[in-house]
Symmetry: C2
Subunit: 226 residues, 2 copies
């Protein structure tokens, strides 16, 4: 019981921290998204593509969460975005405590969009709220259509779901219909976007969704200022 | 600091439990393997193939670790093996405490091989020792060759590494050479087996490795009995 109470306390203090960090983002009118997936589903590829597409019209910053190393940050910087590599030193998820030193140094003034790439893990990141307006969950077709049934929390916490690697559909056993049905059982109206970061197919729909979110957010925060 | 000490205590008591469970397996001369991977890399497909190939010559039991549901246990039972579905109810890994009630009911007498399929996660399962003689880590080619660099603990703790979905090699960016080099930097002499559970290619090498392990184990435990 002590263990469970301790876990509840950790989660509650993390929620409070995320709330505080989110207020800071709102004050500076920075939209934030938290991208989650299992290892190798294509989070960094999606970030690279997003930076390429939006960097001329929006000011972006990326936080790369990894257990160790800076492979992903290098990839993002090569696309022309600012990036902070956050190493969790073994931990299986990002949380508010880890983000505090990053937020302390981040130049939020003038920023439009913050992209947080979580640690590759379909379980734990869903338990720790981050300062994000939207949770984005990525699944790749080789992982199989049964993932929402087996990892329900991640999908329940998502505001948009991306099916990546649709170029591999002819070579793997993945049913878009079966997957979407399982997702909709957990979250009836969540948008599901099909794309391939490799070929570029479907990316337009993702960019449109993200730009729509940016515009809605800017309208909302502008009204609040008046 | 309190949090870290608590974690150390949890891991230490888990180690002791795993040790106790392993002694029980040794006494009954049951070889045990712990299969780990990220979600959708093909653990259950490997178990299905292994059951098909060995069930006529060895007596097998499978423990299926999943957050929820019994999809995987159904697949294994359909291949003709006995199976216990273990639901972690949200937890991201299996540990000794969760295995205790399973071990209490398991008929070990006459069993040759216990296969434990861990929760799909490349991070946390590596931290919790299980009653297993060998840790087997699976990676699938669509996940990318950088995984040992990004999830080093999992690969360091592995006694054999399997590259699954080699049938997808023409369609994905995966370098066997780059992957193997990264693995060998963590664990110089670990066997790396390439296969496809889908097409069956390379499976012979895995069965040979496993039968070799079974034979060595039986020779060793027979000597101890004399």
């Amino acid at each position: 019981m002590a263990e469970i109470r301790m876990m509840q306390r950790i989660l509650a203090s993390n929620d409070a921290l995320a709330e505080k960090q989110l207020s800071l983002l709102n004050r500076h009118r920075v939209l934030s998204i938290n991208i989650m997936s299992g290892p190798g589903a294509g989070k960094t590829s999606l970030v690279e593509r997003t930076v390429q597409a939006l960097k001329d019209r929006y000011r972006l910053w990326v936080i790369e969460g990894d257990i160790q190393g800076d492979l992903d940050a290098r990839r993002v910087v090569a696309q022309g975005a600012g990036c902070t590599q956050l190493n969790t030193q073994g931990a299986c998820h990002l949380d508010g405590m880890m983000l505090e030193p990053v937020f302390a140094r981040l130049e939020l003034e003038g920023l439009d969009l913050l992209i947080i790439e979580n640690v590759g893990n379909l379980v734990c990141p869903a338990e720790f709220r981050l300062p994000a307006h939207y949770n984005v969950t990525l699944i790749s077709t080789p992982e199989g259509s049964d993932k929402p049934v087996k990892y329900p929390l991640m999908f329940s916490k998502s505001d948009v779901i991306i099916i990546n690697k649709i170029d591999l559909l002819p070579h793997v056993d993945f049913s878009i219909e079966q997957f979407s049905r399982a997702v909709r059982r957990l979250k009836p109206r969540v948008p599901i976007i099909q794309l391939s970061c490799r070929t570029g197919a479907g990316l337009r729909e993702w960019f449109d969704w993200l730009e729509g979110a940016l515009k809605r957010f800017h309208r909302k925060t502008a009204r609040k200022r008046e």
